[in-house]
């Protein structure tokens, strides 16, 4: 039954892609067919994921599909895989619905058959990738995913920025794959098999140095795809370049496949390692989270801003994973479970709200034809539903209660606090809370960023004519966003449902169920009883909180209405007596300026002011201000490396200088060397 469902998922995607491609002559039909199949598959995938997570079964299928030696299991869907299938399916469910309306704008401008094909292939690759039972299939679908997403990134390839973004993306991701491949090869060499199951049998007994090598390789490899700093450079380029529904998928779920791979190798195969792995991952996570959100604040392109937030959120996920790795290293499965649940829950949450926000950005682009926040404003009145959903996404990503982002960040905080109080080592006791403080700063900066993002785009007056003419987007797009908005709230007030689903996953990975310690219906309740010296416990009750908040607002509204006198009058905003114009509004740049100045040592801002004077130097005619943030990592890491590479390549070209005598000389020397060497 589950196997059939799985093949249904893959089959629908394959057919959807092929049909969409073959119908490219009729764009509208191609669009409908392509996204309908994707939608159907997403429904099936959701059901599949939930069934497996509820039953806790592991399903195998497709033995002997690949004829290469060392591979017996083509697909293996265990709870971990099922959880990621669920994440992918939930997001693709909403995004596919969204796409019905969104992709209409491409009719007549681009080939929709290709969009449908690549979109379905992309989803197919992601589902198959997490369901892969062996390393070959994993890499195969991993690369297919990269390829399909590359195709989608360069979908609008007439723009040179898009092409550049696509190239950086494919190169970075391919180099990342190299590291993953090397890790798998080492495992293969040790286990004599590409099957994850076999690898797992050998992986735990490997010598420590070997394990560390593999760990570092997968960290770099998957880190590139996940976009951790400093391997993130492709991410803020590629996400804005792609169509918004694709950005939603890329950011929402594609990055998560890297997290999946990391968990698969580090936990399932290697069974964790020494505690310093965890500290390493935790530090990486903290750096990514902090720098990610700081860079995000500096962006005025809404999709770039969201892309940097993916870096941030991946960092938060890694912090959870890092804490879990530390506990795993100390042999504390219950605590490792806490970190894992925090990370996995954040995986789900980030998928939901980030996809929601990218769809929101797509909707805005659909309505205003721009991604530049400085040209927007006042959209909430023109696009009330989009605005509302975007607000939900913003609150969720800013980790504010009672939405889902809060709960997973709360769990991450808790695992860091446990790190602070568990009798492991003094160093960790201090590091835990310090990382907690870093996470707090991240969360606070994220809130700043989304006040900016929502406030500048949706509030006050429109800053440009195209923003003033914006209209609400078609219903399908709203439904797509609405589904995710509801899920954001739902998981925020009923986090136990996610904890329930994660139970078999943690049971499988660390041998300790999540429900066991985080049970309870309305509130989360991490009781960590397993350590002799530690009785750490705490509770939150998001549902009660939500009810009180909702009723509180209503109640206060009634009470104030009853207490108060005097009516309500609509008038213009007070502006020191002058008339208000949109030019006086705070812009995205000015909003972020305090942060830019405070963190100038990190962000290295550049500032260009061009002033044009009329009548001497006291009367300014016009003033142009430009503030950009220096692309630090590109400047110190990537560009020099690229230059050296190109320079060396250029020098090497002299080998082929065109002289036949030189060429004959090569032959000559080769022969002489071989003759001498043969002795």
């Amino acid at each position: 039954m589950t196997i059939l469902l799985f093949y249904l998922v893959l089959g629908l995607l394959l057919l959807g892609g092929l049909f969409a491609y073959s119908l490219q002559g009729k764009p509208r039909l191609s669009l409908r067919v392509g996204f309908s199949f994707a939608l159907g598959s997403a429904v099936a995938g959701t059901v599949l994921g939930i069934i497996i997570l509820l039953t806790g079964d592991t399903v195998y299928t497709g033995a002997g599909f690949a004829s290469l030696p060392g591979m017996n299991r083509a697909f293996l869907i265990d709870p971990l895989a099922a959880f990621f299938i669920l994440v992918i399916s939930l997001v693709s469910l909403a995004v596919s619905i969204f796409s019905f309306g969104y992709a209409e704008e491409y009719i007549g401008r681009h080939n929709l058959g290709i969009l449908g094909l690549l979109y379905n292939l992309f989803l197919l690759a992601m589902v198959a990738l997490v369901a892969s039972g062996n390393a070959f299939f994993f890499l195969f679908f991993w690369e297919l995913m990269s390829l399909a997403s590359y195709g989608l990134v360069v979908y609008d390839h007439r723009d040179s920025h898009v092409r550049r973004a696509g190239f950086v993306y494919i190169v970075m991701t391919h180099i990342g794959t190299l590291f993953i491949f090397l890790a798998f090869l080492l495992l293969y060499q040790a286990a004599g098999s590409f099957d994850f199951e076999h690898m797992a049998q050998f992986g735990r007994q490997l010598p420590a140095g070997f394990k560390t090598g593999i760990f570092l390789l997968v960290t770099v490899g998957f880190g590139t795809k996940a976009g951790i700093i400093p391997l993130h450079i492709w991410l803020p380029k590629a996400h804005p370049a792609a169509p918004s529904n694709v950005s939603a998928l890329m950011s929402g779920v594609m990055l998560k496949t890297a997290i999946y791979g990391f968990i698969r190798v580090v936990w399932d195969v290697l069974g964790g390692g020494s505690a310093w792995w965890g500290i390493f991952i935790l530090s990486l996570g903290a750096v990514s989270a902090l720098l990610g959100v700081m860079y995000a604040l500096m962006q005025h392109d809404i999709k770039e801003l969201l892309a940097y937030h993916s870096v941030e959120n991946i960092g938060i996920i890694l912090m959870g994973l890092g804490a879990a790795l530390i506990f795993q290293g100390y042999g504390l499965p219950a605590l490792a479970m806490l970190g894992l649940v925090a990370a996995l829950f954040h995986v789900l949450n980030h998928a939901l709200f980030k996809a929601l926000l990218f769809m929101g950005a797509g909707a805005i682009h659909h309505a205003t034809r721009t991604r530049d926040m400085e040209k927007m404003g006042g959209l909430l009145k023109l696009m009330p539903w989009t605005g509302f959903f975007f607000l939900v996404g913003s609150i969720s990503i800013a980790a504010l209660p009672p939405f889902n982002g809060f709960v997973s960040e709360w769990l991450t905080f808790q695992s860091l606090l446990v790190l602070g109080s568990a009798p492991l080592s003094l160093k960790l006791n201090i590091l835990g809370p310090v990382f907690g403080a870093a996470l707090a700063l991240t969360g606070a900066l994220a809130a700043v960023c989304f006040v900016k993002a929502f406030g500048i785009q949706f509030l006050a007056q429109p800053r440009s004519t195209q923003a003033a003419k914006a209209k609400e987007v078609p219903r399908s797009m709203l439904i797509g966003m609405g589904i995710l908005a509801v899920l954001c709230l739902g998981l925020g007030i009923f986090p136990s449902s996610a904890i329930q689903l994660l139970n078999p996953v943690t049971l499988h990975l660390v041998g300790y169920g999540s429900v066991q310690a985080l049970g309870g219906y309305a509130w989360l309740n991490p009781q960590i009883p397993l350590l002799p010296n530690l009785s750490y416990h705490t509770t939150i009750a998001p549902f009660v909180l939500f009810v009180v908040l909702a009723f509180g607002v209503l109640l206060v509204y009634r009470v104030v209405k009853w207490l108060g006198h005097g009516g309500t009058r609509i008038d213009e905003t007070w502006n020191c007596g002058g008339t208000l114009s949109p030019k006086m509004e705070y812009t995205a740049t000015s909003f972020a300026k305090p942060i830019r100045i405070i963190f100038r040592r990190i962000l290295l801002p550049k500032r260009v002011v061009e002033t044009e004077y009329a009548l001497g130097s006291h009367f300014t005619r016009s003033l142009k201000y430009e503030g950009a943030v220096k692309p630090f990592f590109e400047d110190i890491l990537y560009r020099p490396a690229q230059n050296v590479f190109l320079k060396v390549s250029g020098k090497m070209r002299l080998l082929q200088s065109g002289s036949i005598h030189l060429y004959l000389g090569y032959l000559f020397i080769t022969l002489v060397i071989l003759l001498i060497w043969a002795k």
């Binding site: 404003g377 909430l380 009145k381 800013a398 980790a399 209660p401 809060f406 606090l417 602070g420 201090i430 835990g432 809370p433 907690g436 403080a437 870093a438 707090a440 700063l441 606070a444 900066l445 809130a447 700043v448 989304f450 006040v451 900016k452 406030g455 509030l459 006050a460 509130w523 009785s535 416990h537 705490t538 509770t539 939150i540 009750a541 909180l545 009180v548 908040l549 509180g552 607002v553 206060v556 104030v560 207490l563 108060g564 005097g566 009516g567 309500t568 609509i570 905003t573 007070w574 502006n575 949109p582 006086m584 509004e585 705070y586 000015s590 909003f591 972020a592 305090p594 942060i595 405070i598």
Partner: protein, 317 residues
């Protein structure tokens, strides 16, 4: 049933006492500045006046602007319900821990900052921008001391922390404890919007942070927000007072008599007034800082908090 009663009591106390506390601080400042100052009841009169006035809404604003006072007020009120002020046995204290408290403040601030942007005037935007920036960099400095307390208590639940410190008695007052307190106190200044970080009494564009966001509000909405700001101040004081010096607080261990509750109320009021007076003294003896000096101050507070943490970890015995 008892819990419900205690909760209602605590809420009434907060609602009633918060404006008075503001009044006391104003009066203290006036005393040191050799002025007579406004009456202690002036905050109540202001609130009453606002409630009677007509509400003027800007034509540029959206529903965000209208809903914000309610969200802000209710978020603060929920904190008042979860925080152990008079008693550690609140009805809703299970709903949240220190994170809920901090993040409810953040939620309130989030909406207020949006409302600041909503009217479209430069003042609101500037205030939003500054408020968010300052509070963001205050966040780690705020959290780290709380973490230290939570680790020491083995729970991030505030009632739990308070009870733990209360039961610890005077020996709980280690150097770590005190350093942590001072660190949190500095952040408390930032959170309550007082000199040297913000000036609550000004509407001058160059100096204001928090007030700028309220600039466009009037009538009932202003009343609600003003009251909420009073309450928030009280809650911050409660956090400072009860987390570090919880003595006198009514706890289920001692049983609930009218006398214990009375003692708890008086003890808390005394502690709050004391803190308020200290803040007032600081306010009149310092000038407001330049905006971009604030990070240095908060950094210092963060380092102090870190010192407290290290000292706690190393010396906990």
């Amino acid at each position: 049933m008892l819990a419900v009663g205690l909760t209602i009591l605590q809420m009434l106390f907060v609602l009633g006492f918060a404006p008075l506390l503001s009044g006391i601080i104003k009066k203290t400042k006036a005393f040191f500045q050799s002025r007579r100052g406004p009456s202690l009841l002036q905050p109540y009169r202001d609130l009453y006046k606002y409630l009677q006035k007509e509400t003027v809404l800007s034509e540029h604003t959206s529903w965000i602007f209208r809903i914000t006072p309610y969200v802000y007020f209710v978020a603060i009120l929920i904190v008042a319900l979860t925080l152990p002020i008079l008693t550690t046995f609140g009805m809703l204290s299970f709903t949240g821990d220190l994170f809920i408290v901090i993040y409810l403040f953040a939620l309130a601030r989030f909406f207020l900052a949006l409302a600041g942007l909503d009217a479209g005037s430069a003042f609101g935007g500037m205030a939003s921008s500054r408020e968010m920036a300052v509070s963001a960099i205050a966040e780690p400095a705020l959290m780290l001391p709380l973490f230290t307390m939570a680790i020491a208590a083995g729970t991030s639940n505030l009632s739990g922390i308070v009870e733990q410190v209360a039961q610890g008695g005077w020996p709980a007052l280690t150097s770590a404890h005190l350093m942590t307190f001072v660190a949190l106190f500095v952040v408390g200044i930032a959170e309550t919007g007082r000199i040297p970080i913000d000036n609550p009494d000004t509407h001058l564009e160059l100096t204001m942070i928090h007030e700028g966001m309220l600039l466009e509000y009037s009538g009932k909405q202003l009343a609600l927000l003003t009251l909420a700001v009073h309450i928030k101040q009280l809650l911050i004081f409660a956090l400072l007072a009860n987390l570090f010096f919880p003595w006198g607080i009514a706890s289920p261990a001692a049983g609930f008599q009218v006398s214990t509750l009375l003692i708890a109320t008086l003890a808390f009021a005394a502690k709050a007034v004391g803190l308020g007076m200290v803040m007032a003294v600081i306010e009149i003896s310092m000038a407001k800082m330049r905006l971009f000096k604030i990070p240095d101050l908060l950094m210092g507070s963060f380092l102090l908090g870190l010192l407290g943490l290290i000292s706690h970890v190393l010396l906990r015995g």
